[in-house]
């Protein structure tokens, strides 16, 4: 499964980079995120509660950040599994300056397996895109309330 998108922000590249690497912001912005604990500099333990179609469940896994070119590019590897199955995803984010802020251009390649694949396959692309949209909206909202 491949999905991609662009999110625009009024803030500067540096602010967005910072926001996308701040644990508290991420915990509340990542859909269903229960906890996000930094293991070392680039690896988090993550716990998610998510429902896809009729398949609801908890996933635990690891998120690793690589290819960091602060503040414009990074790659995020996420691997998680739970009763509903597993997700292995690679998310690539590029942050580009715009006249009145910046934009995050992201592409995501994900492999899903188990019940989420057999039950959710039809809808998962749409749901993933929707969730990604929500994530960036939430980051935006949090930046506003913080400011």
């Amino acid at each position: 499964m491949n999905i991609n998108g662009t999110a625009k922000f009024n803030e500067s590249v540096d602010t967005i980079w910072q926001a996308l690497h701040t644990e508290e912001i991420l915990v509340s912005a990542i859909p269903g995120c229960q906890s996000l604990i930094l293991n070392d500099d680039v690896e988090y333990d993550v716990n998610l509660k998510l429902g896809v179609a009729s398949v609801k469940g908890e996933y635990t896994g690891k998120v690793k950040i690589e290819d960091i070119e602060e503040p414009v590019h990074y790659k995020l590897y996420a691997a998680g599994s739970g009763k509903p199955g597993f997700v292995d995803a690679t998310l690539e984010c590029k942050i580009e300056p715009l006249e009145d802020g910046c934009q995050v251009i992201w592409t995501c390649e994900a492999e899903i397996g188990g019940t989420i694949a057999s039950v959710g396959n039809r809808v998962i692309g749409g749901i993933a895109k929707f969730l990604a949209g929500n994530f960036f909206k939430d980051v935006k909202k949090q930046l506003l309330t913080r400011a």
């Binding site: 694949a117 057999s118 396959n121 039809r122």
Partner: protein, 792 residues
């Protein structure tokens, strides 16, 4: 005397079934019963690195958590079912099979080989706790490259699904008569095609389920399973667990459909008894629908590459076929489906030069087993598409090509020159295929349809008609038994080894017994689905119960009658030959008003009855008969589908469906009609809707009924039925099997009808199901091709 055989006697089992008082596995509750939940693999092919069960074990209410390591060396894996897989020596000589051992551990050990494979089992006070505990089990996998495409799997150096199965080819064989290659070289007309049938799921209304109750005092275990084969379940439990077979009792209570996959013993049927003994508690597991679509055995999935040589008049001179069966991760049934395909492919046709190669390949998918038709729908789809393609190439009506090649009535019994799976010569015993075709053509007013088709074409409507025929070996052995006794109330109790999943055994066997014994069906109580009473039994599959168990019932009833009239003769002071039994009254021909009942005979037959019976008559009224058929008996059928195709949407409207079939003596016309209608419903499903889909990672994409489309009553027309009764020569009742037949021909008939409706586009449909998107694609492609030709 036939009084009840041939009558649409109402089904004895229906009262309890339609009033909701049937008892299925899920309905059974035992005191102190625990419930099990399975953790299944989300990976198609992966090494199990680590399993953490600690949190699950700590959860209050959990009694046991088992993983592969816990059963290593303790529970033997499930291997090929020898009762179905053994190749008779003379068949082996003819087909030169190469077989590689394969098996499945009941819980995955070291690696997983398909999505849905059981990895762990949790047993708890109830299902809720067990499900929660299953959630707490963490399994770490290391992915291996999944084998999804069987052709990829066969390549040298491809990753192996089972380490000992080289090139993932579990079995291969080659069957050949005549010289097909030479004929091809000399022929002006040679057709080549690739024909594919999809992987299917059987979808019984009741999912699987198992309960086991171990008794410490007697060391006996009682297992209830939603199975077609209680005796095979018993034998497999004994094999896997090393238990004494006679200490295992398997009961198949009411079972809601089986269609084949409930005839393959699954891992759960081994583990639940094992845990019950370990915990000394009754344990229950009922499969949910998601598990059913993922983990219950699947079926079909063949790819045929055919080369056919024929004359300009449509006579087929030779047929060569190399086909691959994608069996998923394990093949439990040996050459059952593949050889069924090989020996059924020519059907009602005479093809003297015939060469067929089969390879059964393992892939990382749910294992395959036989399903209604078991290799025959694939054969018939291939053969009848070939007939239709030849007709269109020669611009002949398909009916003409069918007739040109059909075996004629005067040629019966007809020897096809090869062997049946059981080692007997493949000789069609009785039937009249051209007459069946003519009767079916008359039923649908074939000429009239052709007229109407032309008229409607002018109005832009595309209707089409398609025909398929089959000859089906039914009533496969090896045997089935009946044990009859009379009790103190004068009722006849009949125990049979064949257990039903809705076919109406309790009714039809009572009809057979009633005629042989001079009773009414109400006087006979049929007991089925239990290994406790008969020492031997096989089960219900392969359209075999009426033939095998029916014949056993008939012969056992005659044995019982002999004993009854012998005793009645002594009581009445006449010769046994003079005794008549009618509607339960037993009397001398000379004096009908003075009659006895079975109760009187029972009393006189008891040990120590006064006055005693002559010493040559053993006390008691109990007889057993095992019927062993000489080989299969050949049922046959012609199916005709009428469709209208919407070119814009690719949607197929199935307007009429007609059948003429021969199942020999019809025991109960209502039940036979129901079997035919139901079989055709499943056949229509595989023609137009059903397909199990795996993606390139071996992930199942059709895990719900939103994705795996089933026909409903809205899509199934009431089938017009015509009957032939060419009695079987291979059993005393003259019956042939009918259970599977309906499902065999619809894919071919419907595909041919769609091709016919779009004849001006010259499309070729050699892949199922014919979904709107697939058909729309073919239409678009054909239209494009035509417009390029026109513009040139």
């Amino acid at each position: 005397m036939k009084k009840y055989v041939g009558q649409s006697v109402k089904r004895k089992e229906d009262y309890r079934l339609v009033t909701g008082t049937g008892q299925f596995v899920a309905d059974i509750k035992l005191a102190g019963m625990l419930e099990a939940v399975f953790v299944r693999s989300p990976q198609a092919h992966a090494i199990i690195r680590h399993i953490d069960t600690s949190k699950a074990k700590e959860l209050p209410g959990v009694h046991a958590v088992l993983i592969g390591d816990d059963i290593k060396g303790i529970i033997n894996p499930i291997t090929q079912f020898e009762s179905h897989s053994a190749v008779p020596p003379n068949v082996a000589k003819e087909i030169n099979p190469k077989i590689q051992y394969n098996d499945e551990s009941v819980l995955a050990i070291d690696k997983v080989v398909y999505v849905g494979q059981p990895v762990a089992v949790v047993v708890a006070d109830n299902r809720y706790i067990a499900e929660d505990a299953a959630d707490l089990i963490k399994v770490e996998y290391e992915q291996l490259k999944p084998m999804v495409d069987p052709y990829e799997a066969m390549k040298e150096g491809s990753p192996l699904v089972q380490n000992q199965v080289e090139q993932n080819i579990q079995m291969e064989f080659h069957l050949s008569i005549g010289d097909a290659k030479r004929v091809e070289q000399q022929s002006n007309h040679v057709l080549k095609a690739r024909v594919k049938t999809p992987r299917l799921s059987s979808n019984p209304i009741e999912t699987r389920g198992v309960i086991a109750d171990y008794d410490n005092r007697t060391d006996q275990i009682h297992v209830w399973s939603a199975t077609q084969l209680p005796f095979e379940v018993r034998a497999t439990i004994a094999h896997c667990l090393g238990w004494t077979e006679q200490n295992i009792r398997v009961t198949a209570p009411d079972v809601g459909g089986g269609f084949g996959p409930k005839g393959g013993v699954h891992p759960e049927e081994i583990l639940i008894p094992y845990i019950s003994k370990r915990l000394n508690r009754p344990v229950k597991w009922v499969e949910d629908r998601l598990e059913h679509l993922t983990s219950a055995r699947q079926s079909r999935d063949q790819v045929h590459d055919v080369i056919v040589a024929y004359n300009s008049d449509g006579t087929i001179l030779s047929l060569r076929d190399e086909f691959v069966v994608d069996s998923g991760a394990v093949n439990f049934f040996g050459f059952t489906c593949a050889y069924n395909t090989a020996y059924h492919l020519r059907g009602a046709y005479k093809i003297p030069n015939y060469d067929i190669k089969s390879r059964i390949v393992l892939t990382n998918k749910t294992p395959n087993v036989p399903f209604r038709g078991a290799g025959r729908p694939e054969a018939v789809f291939t053969m009848d598409r070939v007939i239709d393609m030849i007709a269109r190439k020669l611009k002949l009506d398909p009916v003409e090509v069918m007739k040109r090649n059909m075996i004629q009535a005067h040629e019966m019994p007809y020897d096809q020159g090869i062997l049946v799976k059981d080692g007997a010569r493949l000789i069609y015993d009785s039937g009249d295929y051209p007459a069946a075709l003519n009767q079916a053509l008359a039923m649908v007013d074939y000429e009239g349809f052709r007229e109407r088709q032309k008229e409607l074409k002018k109005a832009g409507k595309n209707i089409g008609i398609g025909i398929s025929s089959y000859v089906e070996g039914t009533g496969a052995g090896p045997f089935e038994g009946a044990l009859l006794s009379v009790d103190s109330t004068g009722k006849v109790i009949a125990h049979l080894g064949a257990s039903p999943q809705g076919q109406g055994h309790e009714t039809v066997f009572a009809q057979i017994g009633a005629d042989a014994l001079g009773l009414t069906p109400d006087d006979i109580v049929i007991k089925v689905g239990d290994t406790a009473v008969l020492p031997f039994g096989a089960g219900t599959y392969a359209s075999r119960s009426a033939v095998n168990a029916g014949s056993a019932m008939h012969e056992a009833s005659l044995k019982l009658r002999n004993k009854v009239v012998a005793i009645a003769g002594i009581i009445l002071g006449t010769l046994p030959d003079e005794i008549v039994i009618e509607e339960g009254k037993i009397f001398s021909k000379e004096n009908p008003s003075h009659f006895l009942t079975l109760q009187d005979i029972y009393k006189r037959s008891r040990p120590a009855a006064r006055p005693p019976l002559p010493s040559e008559i053993e006390p008691g009224l109990q007889v057993t008969h095992y019927f062993v058929p000489p080989t299969v008996t050949f049922a046959s059928s012609v199916h005709i589908a009428e469709v209208e195709v919407d070119k814009e949407t690719g949607f197929v409207d199935l307007q009429n469906y007609s059948v003429v079939h021969d199942c020999g003596t019809v025991i109960n016309p209502m039940i036979v009609d129901g079997q035919v209608q139901g079989g055709i419903a499943q056949g229509i499903g595989s023609a137009l809707y059903e397909e199990v889909v795996y993606n390139e990672s071996g992930q199942l994409l059709t895990g719900t009924y939103m994705d795996y489309l089933l026909p409903t009553s809205m899509e199934i027309p009431t089938v017009k039925k015509g009957h032939q009764q060419h009695l079987s020569t291979r059993n005393p009742l003259g019956v042939k099997g009918v259970g599977e037949g309906g499902a065999i021909s619809p894919p071919a008939a419907i595909a041919n009808a769609i091709v016919d409706a779009l004849s001006d586009l010259e499309i070729v449909i050699n892949q199922l199901p014919v979904s709107p998107s697939r058909l729309r694609g073919l239409i678009k492609e054909a239209e494009k091709k035509q417009s390029t030709i026109l513009s040139k």
